[in-house]
């Protein structure tokens, strides 16, 4: 089993003993021991994966890292968060997914209008199964719990990932003020309902919603 260890908050060390992990293309910064790097195709495996990749544009460039030793991963000095999945499903933008254990399956889901407002496209990557995944955030992410009594509203630009049985819905507050450029800058919001966890970063990507 691959062992994930955080070295500080921005470097992930993965101990491998002949097994493999899937990682974002080019995210290796160092290794000791013997490692091989093989390009893979993201967005799901097989013919169905190929078709969805073509259609969705959620074409994550992934590589398989296999070997004996320790491999270190980092990407643009972003903070790394470890997520343990026990049969659940993680929704994350492809650009925020750093490393996953081989036991986890990755795929693509339709997110509707939400993606468009985030500037991330209409599709998002899903990670499913049992094992560990490392996701990235711009600044240390906070994990917010959503329960039936307490729905959560997040800025689309600050949303990173979520797990659990959550329904998400884009809500708009575009009024005449927005149109004349006097809006609050919070015209689009993501509303989560159900039971689960949402990862929120202390930074906002440039989104269509952010400009309104």
């Amino acid at each position: 089993m691959a062992n994930f260890r955080l070295q500080g908050t921005r470097v992930l060390a993965v101990d491998l003993a002949g097994d493999a992990v899937k990682a974002k293309n080019g995210a290796m910064v160092a290794y000791d021991g013997e490692m091989t790097f093989k390009k893979m195709t993201g967005g799901g495996e097989g013919l169905r994966g190929l078709v969805t990749r073509r259609i969705t544009g959620e074409s994550m460039a992934v590589m398989e890292v296999r070997g004996h030793g320790t491999c270190y991963f980092a990407d643009r000095a972003t903070e790394i968060n470890l997520v343990r999945l026990d049969g659940g499903k993680l929704f994350v933008e492809a650009s925020n997914l750093l490393v996953t254990e081989p036991s986890l399956r990755t795929g693509t889901t339709f997110t509707g209008l939400r993606g468009a407002s985030q500037g991330n496209g209409l599709f998002t990557t899903t990670v499913e199964g049992t094992g560990q995944a490392a996701i990235m955030s711009d600044g240390p992410a906070i994990v917010l719990r959503v329960s039936a009594q307490t729905p959560l509203v997040v800025d689309p630009g600050a949303y990173v990932a979520h797990t659990g049985g959550l329904r998400q819905q884009l809500q708009t507050a575009v009024g005449w003020r927005t149109l004349v450029g006097e809006g609050s800058g919070e015209s689009f919001q993501l509303r989560f309902e159900g039971e689960g966890l949402v990862y929120v970063q202390p930074s906002e990507r440039v989104t269509v919603g952010g400009q309104l």
């Binding site: 293309n25 290794y31 990407d75 000095a77």
Partner: protein
């Protein structure tokens, strides 16, 4: 005189009469006591000949001399700063990553092409770093910059450490470095893993790797 870390992006250097500290020009953030900052025309240690060497090698980042009595705080561009206390060994670091160092250290430049032959020459091209690197040897402290903090990986006789050339920051000790290529036809048709080149460091020492593949 060891540098004191104030936080991840600021260090404080004690300034003692009779001892010089060199720092990248303009990197002073604050100081206490009576401290004078003068541009170092020769760009550091070793007089005019060393200066010419550094100019030729393109390792001549503008430096200033810090003298007096008190302490000075340094930082630059919000980059993460790492401090190293040398006890006789040599530190290899790019000149533009150097923030400050003790005047007691011997400064030099090294032609990286001399290690690893042709691949040594290619190394500079691949990493975006020059063919030369700055060396600091002796006893004293050095503060250098990295994008997003560094991890220190030990290099031991048991096996080499491989580093992404873009994430490589500095190394110290008795270390040989060699650029290795994993170029296959996949890389040529643009379907590579993105890890086509690696720096292989072997020997005894430490390599500093930053959490990013971006230059400063």
């Amino acid at each position: 005189m060891p540098f004191t870390r104030i936080n991840s992006k600021m260090v404080e250097a004690a300034v003692v009469p009779g001892q010089r500290v060199f720092s990248q020009r303009g990197a002073m953030l604050a100081y206490r006591g009576r401290v004078a900052f003068t541009p170092s025309i020769t760009g550091g240690q070793g007089g005019v000949m060393s200066m010419i060497g550094r100019r030729v090698a393109n390792e001549a980042t503008p430096l200033m001399t810090v003298e007096g009595s008190g302490s000075a705080m340094f930082g630059h561009g919000g980059h993460h700063i790492h401090t190293v206390d040398l006890t006789g060994e040599t530190l290899y670091v790019e000149a533009d990553r150097l923030l400050a160092f003790d005047g007691s250290l011997r400064q030099g430049t090294m032609f990286m092409g001399s290690q690893g032959g042709v691949m040594g020459v290619i190394r500079g091209q691949v990493t975006g770093q020059g063919l030369f690197t700055t060396t600091l040897a002796g006893k004293g402290s050095v503060a250098f910059m990295a994008h997003g903090g560094v991890v220190e990986l030990p290099i031991t006789a048991s096996g080499p450490v491989h580093v992404d050339p873009q994430a490589y920051v500095a190394h110290r000790g008795d270390v040989r470095n060699r650029l290795t290529a994993a170029l296959g036809w996949r890389e040529m048709v643009g379907r590579g893993s993105g890890e086509a080149f690696q720096l292989e460091l072997s020997g005894n020492g430490t390599v500093y790797v930053q959490a990013s593949e971006e230059k400063l």
